[in-house]
C-alpha cells in the first residue's frame, strides 16, 4: 500500500467513531429487533417450560448445544490466530488482529449463554459456581460441564485481557481527539497512557506473555467442549479423536468467520486501503490447510468406525452416511471441502470474493457438522426399543433464539467498531515505519506525545 502519514491513518481509522449515518442506525435497529425477539422467545421458554423447544427423549440436546459448540468454535478465530501470528512476527497480521480478537470475545460470550438457555431450570444456573452455600455441596468436578464452566471463563478472561491490552494506546489516541463526555470515558479507559518508553516496554511484555498463555487455553477450551460428548458412552461420541477434531474444526470455522467479518468491515467502513487482498489470500491459505485437516479428521473418524463394525456405532454411522441424515451429511462435506478446496487451492480463485464464498460455505458446513455430531447419535443409542420415534425437529423458539445470536454477533460487532478503532492504529503505524518499532519513542506514535494525564 502507499505509505500513509500517521495523520491520514488517524483520520481513516477513527472516522467511524466520529460520524454515525442513518443507514448505520437502521441496520443496528434491525438486528437489535431480532435480538429482542430472541429474548422474548427465551422468556416464553422460561414461562412455559423447556418443552416449547423441540427436544425430546432421547434427543435431549438439539439446536441449543449445536449453537453452543458452533459459537465456542467460532471464538477460536481471534485470540488463537492473533496470538500465533504475533508470536511468529507475521507482519501482515497488523490490520487483522483486532477484528479477530473481537470475534473471540463476542462469540465466546454468545456461546456461553447457551448452556444456560438450554437448562431445564435456567434460573438455577448459578449452582454451577463453586461458592459456599447453605446447600453444603460443591459442584461436581468430575463433570465435563464443570470443566466447561472453568475453561470458558478462563478463555473469556484471557481473551478480554488480550483484546484490551493493545487497545490502551488507541484509547489514548481517541481521548486526545474527543470532547466532553466522551473524553472522560476514553481517559478512564486509557489508564493514564502517556506513551513513555517504559509504558511501551511494559505493554510489549504483557502482550507477549498473554500471547503465549492464551494458546494452550484456547486449545483446552475446545478439547473440553469435545469431552462433553466424548466422555459419555454414546455411539460415535465416545472417541479419542474428538478433542483434536474439535480444535481443528474450531480453528477452521474461526478463520472463515474472520474472513467474512473482514470483508464486511472492508466494504462498510471503506477500509479498502487497509484490509488488502494479501490479507485475504494469506487467511485463505490458512483456511485451505484447515479444510484439508478437517477432511482428514472426518475420514479417520469414519473409516475406523466403519472397519470396527461395532453394531451400535455402525447404526449411527449409516444413519448419517446413507440414512435420514445423509442429505445434511453430504451438504456438510460439500460446504466444508468441495467448495473451499478448489477455490482456495487455485491461486486465480483465491480472491477476496473467492475467499468469502469459501468462508460462507465453511460456516454453514461447520454448523451442520456440530448438529450431525449431536443429534444422530442420540437418536440411535443402543437399544432399538429406545430409538427416537418422532425425529427431532426444532421449534420456532429454538429458531428464533438461534437467529437472535447471529443478530447479536452483528450488533455487537457494529457497536464495537463504532466506539473503538477496529484496526489497531498504533500497530499499523509501527508496521508502516518499521524503524520505529522496537525503539518505541513517542514521536512516531502521536498518542503518547500530548496530554500527560497525571
Amino acid at each position: 500500500m502507499a505509505q500513509k502519514t500517521p495523520e491520514q491513518i488517524n483520520d481513516d481509522l477513527l472516522r467511524p467513531l466520529q460520524a454515525t449515518s442513518l443507514k448505520y442506525k437502521l441496520i443496528l435497529a434491525f438486528f437489535f429487533a431480532i435480538v429482542v425477539a430472541a429474548g422474548l422467545a427465551f422468556a416464553h421458554q422460561i414461562d412455559y417450560g423447556i418443552g416449547v423447544a423441540g427436544i425430546r427423549r432421547p434427543v435431549f440436546w438439539g439446536f441449543y448445544i449445536t449453537n453452543f459448540v458452533f459459537w465456542i468454535g467460532l471464538s477460536h478465530a481471534g485470540t488463537l490466530i492473533s496470538a500465533i501470528l504475533r508470536l511468529c512476527n507475521a507482519t501482515w497480521r497488523r490490520p487483522v488482529t483486532r477484528c479477530a480478537e473481537v470475534i473471540t470475545v463476542f462469540a465466546l460470550s454468545i456461546g456461553a449463554t447457551f448452556p444456560v438457555i438450554h437448562l431445564g431450570r435456567p434460573w438455577l444456573a448459578f449452582w454451577l459456581f463453586p461458592y459456599p452455600s447453605e446447600r453444603g455441596i460443591w459442584p461436581n468436578v468430575r463433570s465435563p460441564l464443570l470443566w466447561d464452566f472453568f475453561a470458558i471463563n478462563t478463555y473469556l478472561l484471557g481473551s478480554v485481557t488480550f483484546l484490551l491490552l493493545p487497545m490502551i494506546p488507541d484509547f489514548a489516541l481517541v481521548r486526545d481527539r474527543a470532547m466532553g463526555f466522551r473524553k472522560k470515558i476514553y481517559s478512564a479507559l486509557s489508564l493514564g497512557w502517556t506513551g513513555t518508553p517504559k509504558q511501551w516496554h511494559r505493554l510489549e511484555t504483557a502482550m507477549h506473555i498473554m500471547a503465549i498463555a492464551v494458546i494452550p487455553v484456547a486449545v483446552s477450551v475446545h478439547s473440553i467442549v469435545s469431552w462433553d460428548f466424548a466422555m459419555a458412552p454414546v455411539p460415535m461420541w465416545h472417541s479419542t479423536i474428538f478433542a483434536p477434531y474439535f480444535v481443528a474444526g474450531a480453528i477452521f470455522s474461526g478463520i472463515a468467520a474472520l474472513i467474512i467479518a473482514m470483508a464486511l468491515l472492508r466494504k462498510f467502513l471503506h477500509l479498502e486501503e487497509y484490509l488488502l487482498p494479501i490479507h485475504f489470500e494469506n487467511l485463505g491459505k490458512l483456511l485451505l490447510v484447515m479444510s484439508l485437516l478437517w477432511f482428514y479428521f472426518v475420514a479417520s473418524e469414519r473409516l475406523t468406525a466403519w472397519y470396527g463394525n461395532e453394531p451400535s456405532e455402525m447404526t449411527v454411522l449409516l444413519l448419517t452416511q446413507r440414512g435420514s441424515f445423509s442429505p445434511l451429511f453430504w451438504t456438510m462435506v460439500f460446504c466444508n471441502f468441495l467448495i473451499p478446496f478448489p477455490i482456495l487451492a487455485i491461486k486465480k480463485f483465491r480472491t477476496i470474493t473467492g475467499c468469502v464464498i469459501a468462508s460462507i460455505g465453511v460456516v454453514i458446513g461447520m454448523w451442520l457438522e456440530r448438529f450431525l455430531i449431536i443429534v444422530p447419535s442420540l437418536s440411535r443409542k443402543y437399544l432399538p426399543y429406545a430409538w427416537v420415534t418422532a425425529p427431532y425437529r426444532p421449534t420456532w423458539v429454538e429458531l428464533t433464539i438461534t437467529a437472535g445470536t447471529f443478530a447479536a454477533m452483528v450488533m455487537l460487532y457494529m457497536l464495537f467498531s463504532k466506539f473503538i478503532p477496529i484496526i489497531s492504529v498504533w500497530e499499523l503505524k509501527a508496521g508502516q515505519h518499521p524503524e520505529a518499532e522496537g525503539a518505541v519513542t513517542g514521536h512516531k506514535l502521536p498518542a503518547g506525545s500530548e496530554a500527560g494525564a497525571d
Binding site: 417450560g49 434427543v59 431445564g120 455441596i137 461436581n140 454414546v234 426399543y385
Partner: protein
C-alpha cells in the same frame, strides 16, 4: 457390609401384562403428559415392557422384557452431573435428587438404556388420577430429570419399621411396586450382598445375563432367560 439392592427379572415368566408398568405409575406419582406430548416422545414411564417380534405373520413370536433403571454400579449418568443431583448411594442405588437438578439432561444422554425421563412442563394429572397421588413420593416440577428409584420410599419405610421393632430386615420384606404387582412373580428384589437371599441365589443362576453388559455399566438388575430367548426351541 452395606446392603446392595438388586433385582432379578425372569424373562421366561414374564407374560408382558404390564401390571408392573401400571403399579409403577401409581406408586411413584408419574405424570401423564397427554397424547400430543407422548407422540413427540416425551411420555414418562420409569418402567417399560420392551416387545420384540420375531418371524413373519402368522409365525410370529413376541418376547417381552421389562426394563427399568438398571441402577448401574459404574453408572455413566453419575459423573457427568455438575450438581450431584445424580449420585451413588451406599446401598448401591443411583440416587436422583430432584431439588439439585438444574436440567442439563447430560445424565440422560449418557445413559445407554435411555431410562431417564425429563419433565418438559410442570406435572399434571388427568382427573381423577390426581386423587390417588402417593404422599410418600414427591412430585417433580418442570425442568428436572427423574427415573426409577427401586421404590426407595418403600425401602426406607421397611428399614425404619425393622429398626423400630429392633430386628433385622427380612429377605423379601422390601418389595417395589412392580415386584409386588407381578402376577407371575417374574421379578424378585432383595439384597445382593446377602448370599442367602433369593435375589442373590437367582443372580447366580446359569440363566443370568445383564442388559448391554458390553458397555461396562455393571447393572444391579439381572435378567434370567433360557436359550429359547436366543432362538433355540427347547431348554
Amino acid at each position: 457390609m452395606a446392603r446392595q439392592w438388586g433385582m432379578v427379572i425372569d424373562l421366561d415368566r414374564c407374560t408382558g401384562c404390564e401390571a408392573c408398568v401400571v403399579a409403577c405409575r401409581a406408586e411413584n406419582n408419574i405424570a401423564t403428559v397427554g397424547d400430543d406430548q407422548a407422540a413427540r416422545g416425551r411420555a414418562i414411564h420409569w418402567l417399560r415392557v420392551e416387545r420384540y417380534y420375531e418371524g413373519d405373520f402368522p409365525d410370529v413370536k413376541v418376547k417381552f422384557m421389562p426394563v427399568m433403571c438398571q441402577q448401574c454400579g459404574a453408572a455413566p449418568c453419575e459423573p457427568v452431573c455438575p450438581t450431584f443431583a445424580s449420585y451413588h448411594t451406599e446401598e448401591g442405588l443411583n440416587g436422583q435428587i430432584y431439588n439439585r437438578c438444574i436440567g442439563t439432561r447430560y445424565c440422560s444422554n449418557a445413559c445407554p438404556y435411555n431410562l431417564r425421563f425429563f419433565n418438559f412442563y410442570n406435572a399434571s394429572w388427568d382427573k381423577p388420577l390426581d386423587l390417588q397421588l402417593n404422599p410418600d413420593v414427591s412430585v417433580r416440577g418442570v425442568g428436572v430429570m427423574e427415573k426409577c428409584t427401586f421404590c426407595v420410599q418403600r425401602i426406607k419405610a421397611s428399614e425404619i419399621q425393622a429398626e423400630a421393632e429392633k430386628r433385622p430386615l427380612k429377605d423379601g420384606e422390601v418389595r417395589p411396586a412392580c415386584v409386588q404387582s407381578c402376577p407371575t412373580r417374574a421379578m424378585v428384589f432383595g439384597d445382593l450382598n446377602d448370599p442367602t437371599s433369593e435375589v442373590a441365589r437367582l443372580a447366580r443362576s446359569n440363566r443370568a445375563t445383564k442388559l448391554l453388559e458390553e458397555v461396562g455399566t455393571l447393572p444391579q438388575v439381572t435378567y434370567l432367560k433360557r436359550d429359547s430367548w436366543n432362538g433355540a426351541e427347547n431348554s
